[in-house]
Amino acid sequence: MQISGAEILVRSLQEEGVEFIFGYPGGAVLEIYDAIFRQNQFKHVLVRHEQAAVHAADAYSRSSDKVGVALVTSGPGATNAVTGIATAYMDSIPMVVISGQVPTPAIGMDAFQEVDMVGITRPCVKHNFLVKDVTELASTIKKAFYIAKTGRPGPVVVDIAKDVTQAKHEFSYPDSVQIRSYVPVTRGHPGQIKKAVGLLLEAKRPYIYVGGGAVQGNAAAEVTELVRLLGVPCTNTLMGLGAYPGSDRQFLGMLGMHGTYEANMAMQNCDVLLAVGARFDDRVISVPSHFLGAPKKIIHIDVDPSSIAKRVKADVPIVGDVKHVLAEMLELLRASSQRPDAQALAAWWQQVEAWRDRKSLWYQPSDELIKPQHVVQTLYEVTGGNAIVTSDVGQHQMWAAQYYKFDRPKQWLNSGGLGTMGFGLPAAIGAQLANPDATVACITGEGSIQMNIQELSTAKQYHTPVKVLSLNNRYLGMVRQWQEFFYGTRYSESYMDALPDFVKIAEAYGHVGMKIENPADVEPAIREAFSQKNRERLVFMDFRTDQSENVFPMVGNGKGLDQMDLPPHMREQGGEAADRDYGNLC
């Protein structure tokens, strides 16, 4: 039987097991929306802005093993989606974005709502397609999902001309797909794997650095086993948080620009570094020449060869899927009679503990001003460390990463590579739909939340009871911090004047709003927000936090990992620091 292209699309999505699609209608996709109306296998989530549709689909992927799907119309719908697509691309998140296009005869005619979506998104997708022929629609959708989720994952855009959605054709969905020019590697080279194990066993100061590839590649169990078997310290990147349990002793915290003192010092001073699905980002190692100034052997596992030797040359490059490669390393280790050098390891740990004893995440508590770090710590305690946490971009994002100890992968969702303000709330909605029973919290700032605040409406419509914790410092705080440190406290356009009454905004959208101004109220407020009473409600918490608080440690521009700007208490000399009660860190 011949069915329309729109129906073919819908059937294809059903074949892919799609549960939700996040989208927004318009002229070029009317046919598709009609086909969606006439089916009931998957649910459509109507967002309030296409950027949010893409972030929600992205977070749906990030927090599950499925591939999120977004649907937007041509022209402005498509361009609104671009930020979301680039966000997913930078963090290697699998996703399929379907955009409407003007009918094929109108392409190139400057038609109403025509943009070259394939051209615009080419640099920020893993791949994209323009479908101009209905006979190719089903196989293109099959390819799109396959490409999105295999190899190094990434977003795939399928731009579909309107006449294709109207044309008729038989539906047959391919069982499998073969693309001769695309053959992702999974297994690593056995010789290289053996070499890597040898290096790790001989190391005097070994260190394991784990990134987003281990989270996306579902390799947390293998990472954990390897770290424990070797008895070595471990760090995660911002994207890797949760790949190794954040509350474990062998975990030194996040590394990088706002990493802990011990994580960064160990990175600089290790002699053998195992990098697992991490890409030596500039926010992680800062200046490559300084990083390599302290000699070390580097083993680098990545499924994408272009991530290897891009910023830092590897001594033992291993191209392959982390899960496979680590499993093989574990097997070799278990079979080997050789054990790590216990004496060297003990000395290394002693050094690491000395760094850790400097308590780089300690902050001066206050009875008068709400410390943002304290809000995150309280959230951690109240949610028992179990919440899925999304964030926006800024200081609050860093405090979330530093003070919430993520024990599970896919529990922490944020925009690391693109750093997209406005990600947090739509991401929380997507994550809640993917994980209906989970507690979902969104840690945001008063700047970021206003970039997609309209999604409070989506949250109402689809009953996603996420809890929004806005660390409201009345500043674009991260910008203010840089201006304080590097621009002589000239706070150019970083003060947020004329802020709205967020409690009223929340209430106007039909949610619960709370304003918290005293440190003593932080815990009771969070307890109330997460209590049974508010189980089904979205609660927006507007915390008036200390405006002058900065994120420490900080590796400034052009500085090495061991040249961090340290928090005030670490800059003090002598005995005073030693006597301090670090109780608030535990």
């Binding site: 394939v118 051209g119 080419r122 640099p123 893993k126 791949h127 323009l130 490409i147 693309i179 001769r180 020019s181 695309y182 994408d304 060869p305 272009s306 030797a309 891009k310 040359k313």
Partner: protein, 163 residues
């Protein structure tokens, strides 16, 4: 250093822009680029001449391989290869210059393929260096127009790039 990359890619709309877009987006150089279909109509063969450090060339090769439509990439510099470029050059050919131009074309094994009272159009094939040498050898003022195809390359001997 100058490298000559040979790329086999799907003969699909947009594949060329992906390659070109990659070079501009990542700040790589393109000295020349040629592309056409092969004996297999589903495949295109592209030759890109670029330059950069070994690290840059390695990244270029890896990034090209990452493009879904790219089937294979080889760096012809890695072993012996042949490269050819064609140039069509229109020169002024009047008076005693007419004889001189004919002589130059012969020396460079070029062929005069179009003749008017005042001009010659010469077809010249060879390495890019040889074409450059021809341009250097003739008086600049007589050159009216040059069209170069950019280099195409192929490995020597048994070495082939195929799927």
């Amino acid at each position: 250093m100058r490298h000559i990359l040979s790329i086999l890619l799907e003969n699909e709309a947009g594949a060329l822009s992906r390659v070109v877009g990659l070079f501009s987006a990542r700040g790589y150089n393109i000295d020349s680029l040629t592309v056409s279909t092969t004996e297999d109509a589903t495949l295109s063969r592209m030759t890109i001449v670029t330059h950069g450090s070994d690290e840059v060339i390695e990244q270029i090769t890896k990034q090209l391989n990452k493009l879904i439509e790219v089937v294979k990439v080889i760096d012809l510099n890695e072993s012996e290869h042949i490269e050819r470029e064609m140039m069509l050059i229109k020169v002024r050919a009047t008076g005693k210059e007419r004889e001189e131009m004919k002589r130059m074309a012969d020396i460079f094994r070029g062929r005069i393929i179009d003749v008017t009272e005042k001009t010659y159009t010469i077809e010249l094939t060879g390495t890019s260096d040889k074409l450059g040498a021809f341009i250097e050898a003739v008086d600049r003022s007589v050159i009216l127009e040059t069209v170069r195809t950019g280099a195409s390359g192929i490995g020597r001997g048994e070495r082939i790039l195929k799927i």
